[in-house]
Amino acid sequence: MQETFVRAEFDRMAAEWRYIMTDMICRAGSGHLGGALSLVEIVMTLYYRVMRTDPAQPRAAERDRLVLSKGHAAPVLYLALAYKGFFPMDWLKTLNADGTRLPSHADARYVPGIDMTTGSLGQGLACACGAAYAARLDGQQHRVYCIIGDGESNEGQIWESALFAGHHKLDNLIAITDYNKLQIDDFTDKLLTLEPLRDKWRAFGWEVFEMDGHDWDSIYSTLQAARAVRGKPVMVIAHTIKAKGCCVVENKPESHNIKVPDQAAYDKFMNAMTTKTALPY
């Protein structure tokens, strides 16, 4: 899967995703903005340049899988799936609305193209290990991608999975840590430091890469290198900025779950967007 990369086009699309996502969350009255905005370039690169997916056959056996272990970042996944044609663009405005098919956390039961239901932190990486292990048993060639959070990496189950994947040398598993350095209550370094993060994953038997999670070239070349690794699972530590593109909360703890009680708050967040675009619904 490789679509032609036109930088200006990707820049434009990234700005649209950020603007639409912020509108979706503001319409819903609240939501996990920061950790979705930090993933825009990574998720777009996965869906447009790296992963093999087919909106006409969302459950095709040979597709690459993506487990969004930090399930609260689901809006960025919804943008990718809507843009790729997995479901109508109209659905986007229904985030968290009564009876919606797009709940706050990623849900494989309702959303075509979502491979795993997530939302309770720490579990998605283990699910991804299971999917990767099954693929190996069945002799399938696809890869399983998994995005975990830095705050999520406080969970003990992440490290159970780290042991498992390292022991079983799951080289069809590529995990990405959205290292935006913030969790709900504070900066990760102040609350419960993950450092030295690279050394930790390496010690668990993983090949480790680091990349600038907002730089198209860095993301693409790192993921290509990750796909070439044999005999080990891969952890890509993505240095990102939480709430990137929404200046009133960018790189601030309060970006995690914004509250939008009224029109004034809506205007505050929307006016804070670095780039304004049209809404598709």
Partner: protein, 318 residues
């Protein structure tokens, strides 16, 4: 000709039945968390189907979510550990990765209740039926002998959806035979009588049978409903029986809060209130002790079942 299944420890019946299920469906998998010998799958499954056997180490949370990942790819994982670790330790993993996501994962809690024996209070889980029953999408089973265990496992492999099953590891008295058919959501009437309804499940059913037979000699005719399917529960059979007898006793190898007794009281309270006595462990933790000691301390051995049946029969006749 019978298979003499009841002459085998239940855990070995578990391992052998898994092999039978794997032979029929290569997607069936055996997951363990460093207790595979205790579960009876090592060496039985490990030697015969090494590719279907996955030991994740002492990492039960990982085993459950990993099972969900395997299930998302069409595998049918049976994940076993002691009940305390297979239920309460991993309650959120089962809730979200398995039940909420509606993944086809089978969870097997071994050494339920007082059968944890010498491992004592830390390992005696008295609440797994209650907490698993409270979970949407979850089916909860507790077979009483080797034949019923095998029938339950066959049903679990054929059923698409999350299931939790208690597995008694040791030899169990024979209740059924090779003809045993498991019917989901159905109680099995082991004795028919009009004096009192006695409801049991899993480990306590052979004791309930003994109590019923001894009571029959006293002229107390017990309507004994064995309920391998704790959820869904056979409300119809329970209410029909209670209408005839006017009183109900429940007995389980669990806390009296929320499990089998809880299910019975919920149904009777709503549809046909009658006097009820729940036997099992009151609101207490377990301890290292013999079965006789624990039955005596908590009051749910054969003599207590008999006494409760007499008491409720007398009350319901007033």
């Amino acid at each position: 000709m019978g298979t003499d299944l009841h002459k085998k420890e239940m855990r070995f019946v578990y391992g052998e039945t898994l092999n039978e299920l794997i032979a029929q469906n290569p997607n069936v998998m055996c997951l363990e968390a460093d207790l595979s010998k205790a579960s009876g799958t090592n060496p039985t499954v490990l030697n015969k189907y090494p590719a279907n056997f996955l030991n994740v180490g002492v990492a039960e949370a990982n085993m459950i979510s990993l099972g969900a990942g395997l299930a998302s790819e069409g595998k049918v994982p049976f994940c076993a550990s002691f009940t305390c670790f297979a239920s309460r330790r991993v309650y959120d993993q089962i809730t979200i990765s398995v039940a909420y996501a509606n993944m086809n994962v089978k969870i097997v809690g071994t050494a339920p209740g007082i059968t944890a024996g010498p491992n004592g209070g830390t390992h005696m889980c008295f609440q797994d039926l209650a907490i698993m029953r409270a979970m949407p999408n979850m089916t909860v089973l507790s077979p009483c002998d080797a034949y019923e265990l095998r029938a339950c496992l066959r049903w679990m492999a054929a059923h698409r959806g999350p299931v939790y099953m208690q597995l008694i590891r040791m030899l169990q008295p024979q209740v059924f035979d090779d003809g045993c058919q498991f019917a989901i959501g159905k109680a099995v009437r082991l004795r028919a009588g009009g004096s009192i309804t006695l409801v049991s499940t899993g480990y306590m059913t052979p004791f309930a049978l003994q109590a019923a037979d001894e009571l029959a000699k006293e002229g107390v005719a017990v309507d004994l409903l064995h309920c391998p399917s704790v959820k869904p529960f056979d409300a119809e059979a329970l209410v029909a029986s209670a209408r005839r007898t006017g009183g109900v006793v429940t007995v389980e190898n669990q806390s009296i809060l929320g499990g089998l007794g809880g299910a019975v009281c919920e149904i009777l309270g709503e549809y046909h209130p009658v006097p009820v006595k729940r036997l099992g462990v009151p609101d207490q933790f377990g301890e290292v002790a013999s079965e006789a000691y624990l039955f005596e301390k908590h009051g749910f051995g054969v003599k207590h079942i008999k006494q409760a049946c007499r008491d409720i029969t007398a009350r319901s006749r007033k």
